[in-house]
């Protein structure tokens, strides 16, 4: 079974802190994604990566950056956390190119105070 793990289930940070969210997948998937999920807004794509060191902006990249130094690991970075970044963050991965479904991690609920 594909396994996608995220470094924390719950995280509380202060405004202005630099925050790292880590995601690791164990199935050699090429594509990885970071979403945030807010009530009434569904899932919105922040960034995605289709190869090591390759990244592209999603729909809401402002205030975020990402890093993919190894194929299995995709990190989301909040350069200076703000209260409006309080959200559920979901990581996903998929194989390439003919497998279409995405595999999700359990999510990180981030609270910025």
């Amino acid at each position: 079974d594909v396994k996608v793990t995220q470094s924390s289930r719950y995280l509380v940070k202060r405004t202005g802190e630099k925050v790292f969210l880590e995601c690791v997948q164990d199935m050699d998937h090429e594509n990885m994604f970071w979403y945030r999920q807010d009530p009434g807004l569904g899932l919105r794509l922040i960034y995605f990566s289709y190869d090591v060191k390759m990244k592209e902006k999603g729909d809401i990249p402002e205030g975020y950056s990402v890093s993919r130094e190894k194929k299995e690991r995709f990190s989301l970075i909040l350069e200076s956390a703000s209260t409006n970044q309080t959200s559920m963050y979901l990581c996903a991965s998929k194989s390439h190119p003919t497998i279409y479904e995405q595999y999700f991690g359990p999510g990180t609920r981030l609270t910025v105070t």
Binding site: N31, Y35, L41, G42, L45, Y50, L90, Y100, E101, F104
Partner: protein, 114 residues
């Protein structure tokens, strides 16, 4: 931007009844997928229907796709309390290439009462 619009936003039924949720989208797609999310957890893939398919079944799930109306429906038959979850449709839009990007709807929250 969010492509999928789901209807209803919330649905409450008794165990054993059928549950139907709908999804509309705006642009041409390669395929449409449905995912389930149990409370506070990640999403789990349920079923995929390609743009050239009209109906697909998987166990108690039945998905239909009408590309002329840009809409899809998910039917869960003989529902169980364990089906209580949020359900999301996700579209793979034309032109996304090999990025694998999906556009998710806002979700339908289903409650199945025992």
């Amino acid at each position: 931007s969010q492509q999928g619009e789901e209807d209803p936003q919330a649905l409450s039924i008794q165990e054993g009844e059928n549950a139907t949720m709908n999804c509309s989208y705006k642009t041409s797609i390669n395929n449409l997928q449905w995912y389930r999310q149990n409370s506070g957890r990640g999403l789990v893939h349920l079923i995929l229907i390609r743009s050239n398919e009209r109906e697909k079944h998987s166990g108690r799930l039945r998905v239909t796709l009408d590309t002329s109306k840009k809409s899809s429906s998910l039917l869960i038959t003989a529902s169980r309390a364990a089906d209580t979850a949020s359900y999301f449709c996700a579209t793979d839009p034309h032109g996304s290439g090999n990025t694998g990007k999906l556009i998710f709807g806002q979700g339908t929250t289903l409650q199945v009462k025992p």
